[in-house]
Amino acid sequence: MRNFVLFSAFVAFASGCTPEGSEVSLELSIQPKWNGQDLTYSSMSLVQPVTGDTFHFERTDMILSEFALIQEDGSRLPLVDEAGDPIYAFFTKGKPWAVTVPDNIPKTAYSGIEFTVGLDSARNFGDPSQWRVGHPLNPTVNNLHWGWQGGYVFMAIEGFYQNNGAREPWLYHIATMENRMPVRIDGDLDLRGSRRLVLNWNAEKLFYALNEVRPSEDGAFSHSSFDGGVAHRISENVSQSFSWVALENVK
């Protein structure tokens, strides 16, 4: 009996040291959209609302990193995986655009979330062969590494557009450190329980959020150099292209 009492006391003490549920998980789900509708890749039917340009998307690949929550005092809480390592994501058409942060987020309210479309310098110019099978930065997963030139393409978007009735290709590969695309989404991010945060990626905003970009006038191709600045203007638009949809409870 004495041992039972001692054991019960120990359990109670241990539970008090690490109160159950003091940390929560977060699933970030991003929905590719065009004018509020699901982004389709099948036809020349996407009309840009400002310029009236008509697009067909073939490719929307991007690498995300530097995920962090914005705390009430304005400071950043970097999000990490089970091993305590930074979280990375690779999004491409046909696969879920989702990131799951395990149960390691302090349970409290936050005022927003940040991430970067792109990578920091160390990751961008690091040895790409270091990444394990299936890792978002493994070049055979994302096919966005520049290879022998070094560095990754942060976002690759390609397709066709109507140019005076003709179907012509466009391609913008956003790369280089000056074109990293920081994203900040403010909102009442109440994480006193595990949640799913749903965001939209509004692809139409690539072409007008801050800077108007028209393939027919600004150039339909860029590999982020010698392009008259079109890649940089698009990168600034990308930072404005994500929006808050909902914060959902996760059972």
């Binding site: 790409p128 070049p139 290879g147 022998w148 397709g159 012509e168 191709f221």
Partner: protein
């Protein structure tokens, strides 16, 4: 008691006989600088599995008249392609309609064949057996032959612990062998590791290969890296590179049914490219110079579903390389040749 002991011994002996011997893990030689290859978790490489797979790969037992093996059309002296032939000839004399693909660094590929119709090597390896213009056999008949062979029964028992060979083990064994065909010791690889130098011509070719075909850029480029970049010299995508004004082979579109995929084919790795003429999915170009000439001035802007990455090149009227530059590009492509694909005894026909 005496009979009980004997029975126990007999039981143990039988039980031991039912357990296959342990397999030996196969240490895959991954070239320096290559990303870790995704080996299927349900088919870990073993010495027994790899050697069995190699034997099957080179055994004509897979074809209906026992005259052709996988190695018949994937010869190591030709970078695991078919002896420089435009199209392979099957056992009936039927001629194929696509060029034999090289088989190296396949561990990194998630869509096989020119049209990407098969996601795994285990599935891919069974297709030529039943293709009427290739081996013209049936997997069922092959399995009957294998199960009638004491040698194969023993080898499958040691590799997979099965008494009866099924299509699953047949595919898994050949998958194991093909996963081991790694190639990353070309002159270029040694240059990248600081072990060898490129000639000035090869250096120019490298610069062109990795340079943008951008009229605003200060240095001229051929934009090859765009689709053939990275360690494996492929982006693993399916594209129409502007070969024709009209679609003659549906390619990926024939698999997906998506009209936007018509005329798209797998972007091949350029490793060992000098070993593998002729070129393109239909082997229309005999030499690398013909290929470079095509990109230089022969692409078709109005080809349906042409890849957007080709757009800038075509709008510029082609690459516009002069003869010296085109020769340099070919010289660089020749540095991607890895002689070990031809000489490594691990890849050779064990029946020889």
């Amino acid at each position: 008691m005496k009979y009980f002991a004997l029975a126990l011994i007999a039981l143990v002996a039988v039980s031991c006989g039912e357990n296959p011997p342990p397999t030996t893990p196969y240490a895959l030689n991954v070239p320096q600088g290559f990303p870790p290859p995704p080996i299927p978790e349900d088919n870990p490489l073993t010495v027994e599995g790899v050697l069995l797979g190699r034997r099957l790969f080179y055994d004509p037992i897979l074809s209906r008249d026992s005259t052709q093996s996988c190695g018949s059309c994937h010869n190591t002296s030709f970078g695991m392609t078919d002896h420089g032939l435009r199209f392979s000839v099957g056992i009936t004399g039927a001629v194929g309609d696509r060029n034999s693909m090289p088989l190296h660094n396949l561990a990194y590929h998630t869509a096989l064949f020119w049209d990407g119709r098969t996601p795994t090597l285990r599935q891919q390896s069974l297709e030529p057996i039943e293709n009427p213009i290739e081996m013209d056999h049936t997997v069922a008949a092959v399995l009957a032959s294998l199960n009638a062979s004491p040698t194969y029964r023993e080898l499958f028992w040691k590799a997979y612990g099965v008494k009866t060979i099924t299509a699953e083990e047949l595919g898994l064994a050949m998958e194991q062998f093909m996963l081991t065909i790694m190639s990353g010791n070309s002159k270029f690889d040694r240059f990248a590791r600081g072990l060898e130098s490129l000639t000035p011509e090869e250096q120019l070719g490298l610069q062109l290969f990795n340079g943008e075909a951008n009229p605003n850029a200060p240095v001229r480029g051929a934009d090859c890296f765009h689709c053939h970049g990275g360690t494996l010299f492929t982006n693993h995508k399916f594209t129409n590179n502007g070969l024709d004004t009209a679609i003659t082979d549906p390619g990926l579109g024939g698999v997906t049914g998506n009209p936007n995929d018509l005329g798209k084919f797998k972007v091949p790795s350029l490793r060992n490219i000098a070993y593998t003429p002729p070129y393109m999915h239909d082997g229309r170009f005999q030499t690398l110079m013909e290929v470079v000439d095509f990109y230089n001035s022969g692409t078709h802007a109005n080809s349906p579903n042409i890849d957007p990455a080709m757009g800038d090149i075509i709008r510029s009227g082609g690459l516009g390389l002069n003869l010296q530059e085109r020769l340099a590009l070919v010289a660089f492509l020749n540095t991607l040749t890895d002689p070990s694909i031809e000489s490594d005894t691990l890849f050779q026909n064990p029946f020889n």
